[in-house]
């Protein structure tokens, strides 16, 4: 028999294969939402506001400003929320993790696989708004190929955050606090719909530590011109993903191993 080690890729892929098998049963509805939601946002905000109130922001046409910003929105909503609800349901109601952990899989591998799967999904869906924006006049650039990677790293951090929350609440209703107090404020001060320099000074400082804001800036720079500070932004997101990964593992170990 092969020796068992920590973080075995074959085991992580096996856990992800379970997610993939389930995803194949509902991918159409998810893909539909991910495609049409940015179109609706772009029509409402981009064209609506863009044609009446705001023509451009910092020289960027408003519909493209919003379209590139929506990448972060798509990433957070397809990572943090599925991680929270999915993890809680699998742990509490479906007892899926009991079955997986009875196999030679440890919590570290389970959490890593769940994060990677959500990261891949969110990175894919995160690119949909960008693709849609190309049809609204956004010029293609080679550096845009970095966007899926940026989205993936950010999604890992939010997936780990969601898993941590799922391992911390006792009832599913308590996610309302998380969405109201954490996700929505992060989403609103990410610079998606308006530049953050329009915000009060205190909120501008808060926005700087908002990972979604950093993602929005990275995506816009990939679309309109890279900056040196982007390396720092990416490093910050990577560090956050790593820290949250370890926190999520710790919380899930406390929840799953009694």
């Amino acid at each position: 028999m092969k020796p068992v080690r920590r973080l075995e890729p074959v085991v992580i892929l096996a856990v992800m294969s379970r997610e993939f098998a389930n995803f194949r049963t509902f991918w159409k509805s998810t893909a539909f939402t991910s495609t049409f939601e940015p179109i609706v946002y772009l029509l409402a905000f981009g064209l609506g506001l863009g044609s009446t109130l705001v023509a451009d922001v910092d020289g960027i046409e408003y519909v493209q400003f919003v379209g590139t910003g929506l990448v972060a929105t798509a990433v957070v909503f397809s990572s943090a929320l599925p991680a929270m609800f999915g993890t809680f349901v699998k742990e509490r109601f479906q007892r899926t993790y009991d079955a997986i952990l009875a196999a030679p899989v440890d919590v570290e591998e389970l959490v890593t696989a769940e994060m990677l799967w959500i990261g891949i999904r969110a990175a894919t869906f995160g690119c949909f708004p960008l693709i849609v924006t190309l049809f609204f006049g956004l010029e293609p650039r080679l550096t845009m190929l970095l966007v899926p990677f940026y989205a993936f790293v950010t999604a890992l951090a939010f997936a780990a955050f969601g898993i941590t929350m799922a391992a911390s609440v006792s009832k599913i209703d308590q996610f309302n606090y998380v969405t109201t107090l954490v996700i929505t404020p992060l989403f609103l001060v990410a610079g998606t719909f308006f530049p953050i320099d329009q915000l009060p000074e205190g909120l501008q400082v808060v926005a700087q530590v908002n990972p979604l804001y950093q993602l929005v800036q990275l995506v816009r720079d990939a679309c309109f011109g890279m900056e040196a500070v982007d390396a720092l932004r990416l490093a910050g997101l990577l560090a956050l993903a790593i820290v949250m990964w370890r926190v999520a593992i710790r919380r899930m170990e406390k929840r799953l191993i009694i």
């Binding site: 098998a21 196999a103 009694i258």
Partner: protein
């Protein structure tokens, strides 16, 4: 080498001792029934064997691996069939099996799926989503999932709890087949008939420890004698008979509308009423006498 060795195992949840100094050795090739009432510590013991619960004290060795430290290696060699159905209901039968074959690092996943589909007699339903299966088929699939890597040891946690008699019998046939092939099985149950029918040996568990262990026949002989007499009648009559019989040193237990007098063959002539119904002593008599719980 024993497949399972538990020595002085303890597990507390707050002030409650779920497992309280449990000792148990299961030899290879044996089907051992862990028989006990609800709350006796059976499921907690099962969780400790899979590393999903960490004992407060004692030693666990499974297939030569020390737990919880070496639990992952032990889990690779054992199969687990849980009490609750946790199949992926939207996914097909074969994909459920394939995922677990991959989790167990089976090299030929397709062959493992074929083999277990045959065991569960679900080959013709392989492409169906699990939520299209009957309750009995789902249970068979759950058992098959635990066998997908051809384990040396199988843990069955209340394998037929909540099932109707027909499905239960169907599952017993499957488990009996595995037992006959020499698979080591540890099966927790609170159904007397299940333990009697499937287990080579039965360990009676109460309040977190093993209080008796032997083959069903030996347990009956030791704790319930040869014959049990059941006496029916109104409550005042049953109370009077019970008092007289207990004063004579025999043990009595409630048995639905009757009382059951254990080891009735040793009673003095005339002590047991003439209208008593005599039957062979059973494992149920042993269970109730030892645990004080009504049998299911």
């Amino acid at each position: 080498m024993p497949a399972i060795e538990l020595h002085g195992l303890t597990k507390h949840f707050g002030p409650i001792a779920a497992v309280d100094g449990l000792d148990l050795v299961v030899d290879e090739g044996v089907c051992l029934g862990l028989l006990g009432p609800n709350g006796a510590g059976k499921s907690t013991t099962m969780k400790m064997l899979t590393g999903q619960a960490i004992p407060d004290g004692g030693e666990i060795r499974v297939l030569g691996h020390e737990l919880p430290g070496d639990s992952k290696a032990a889990r690779a060699r054992m199969g687990v069939v849980p009490q609750l159905d946790n199949l992926d209901i939207d996914v097909t039968v074969e994909e459920n099996l394939a995922v677990f074959a991959r989790l167990y690092r089976v090299e030929d996943v397709a062959a493992a799926v074929e083999r277990t589909l045959e065991i569960a007699r679900l080959t013709d339903r392989r492409k169906d989503a699990v939520d299209k299966l009957s309750g009995g088929m789902r249970r068979r699939l759950l058992l098959a999932r635990g066998l997908v890597h051809d384990p040396e040891l199988l843990l069955l946690d209340e394998p037929t709890v909540g099932l109707d008699p027909q499905i239960r019998t169907e599952l017993w046939r499957l488990i009996d087949g595995l037992r006959s092939q020499g698979t080591t099985i540890l099966m927790s149950t609170h159904y007397i008939e299940e333990a009697e029918r499937l287990a080579d040996e039965v360990a009676v568990v109460a309040a977190g420890k093993v209080i008796a262990r032997a083959t069903p026949a030996e347990l009956i002989a030791e704790h319930a004698g040869v014959t049990t007499a059941e006496v029916y009648g109104p409550p005042d009559r049953l109370a009077r008979v019970r008092r007289e019989v207990e004063e004579a040193g025999l043990r009595v237990r409630p048995a639905g509308p009757a009382i059951a007098i254990v080891a009735a063959d040793t009673a003095d002539p005339g002590l047991i009423p003439d209208d008593a119904v005599f039957r062979a002593a059973s494992l149920e008599d042993v269970f109730v006498m030892l645990t004080g719980e009504e049998a299911e």
